[in-house]
Symmetry: C2
Amino acid sequence: MAAERFSIGEVATRTGLSVDTLRWFERERLLLRSVSRTSGGRRVYDTADLEWLHLINRLRTSGMPIARIREFAGLVRSGPGNEAERLAVLVEHEQAVQVRIAELAEHLAVIQEKVRIYGEHVLAGTAAGLWAPVAGND
Amino acid sequence: MAAERFSIGEVATRTGLSVDTLRWFERERLLLRSVSRTSGGRRVYDTADLEWLHLINRLRTSGMPIARIREFAGLVRSGPGNEAERLAVLVEHEQAVQVRIAELAEHLAVIQEKVRIYGEHVLAGTAAGLWAPVAGND
DNA sequence: GTACGATCTGGAGTGCACTCCAGCTCAAGG
DNA sequence: CCTTGAGCTGGAGTGCACTCCAGATCGTAC
């Protein structure tokens, strides 16, 4: 219980998102419902809002497009009965992240190899000719 | 030797980049020099061009911004004497990729945990209440 | 009651990385 | 020759994800 309430500024601080981005998320229907307001019209976020924001921020920073997050939010918003669909979205994204990590690992290996070879030549002062603009052309 | 020559279409096929993107890379000065031409004005890429394209495509798909690739190309283009700077660009990117992989791995772990828990509930038919729009509010 | 920082709305603007287009030329096959 | 597909240029357009206003209001501290 003890439902905590946060201003948009506090939520921005806690999530690392900007105030503008938080309002934009809402307009884009990424939240489960429109945030409640004070009598004066200011947004009041509760703990559940904050948790949801942390989740979709994680999805977002791990590469899920906003449109897909909107779909996911739509599924959750429409209540029970579509849990399998929600799960499918998560599983698909899980796989996408795994693929991305594998790609990055391969890129990293190649870059590290280049760094190693290039670094040795730089140390030895014999780097000339590596990616030289006119390397060995007649 | 046996300097192979490729049309822009062949290069597109081999790199996975579109013909438009290849021309755009050139305009953006990401290449080591402007590609040579046939008498009729068509671009002719050689093996070195292709190798360079593979490298910068790797940098690009692993998250290096185009502006940074342009800087790197500029260093290489300006000939010998700045190898340490070139190496620094690569090392910085290597670290950026490592950071990104670590971030993604953390996101993946959280998502996998959610998939696991959510999947169990879906299987058991008791998913209601997970991210329900009004879960447990008074 | 006043100052002032936070928040409000609707809409315009930005940055990045392409992508598409019109109108044209080139080159290989029949 | 003629057709047809690939390639050419310069410039405009697109998609995504924010980001930044202007002009007004709210609310807490003095």
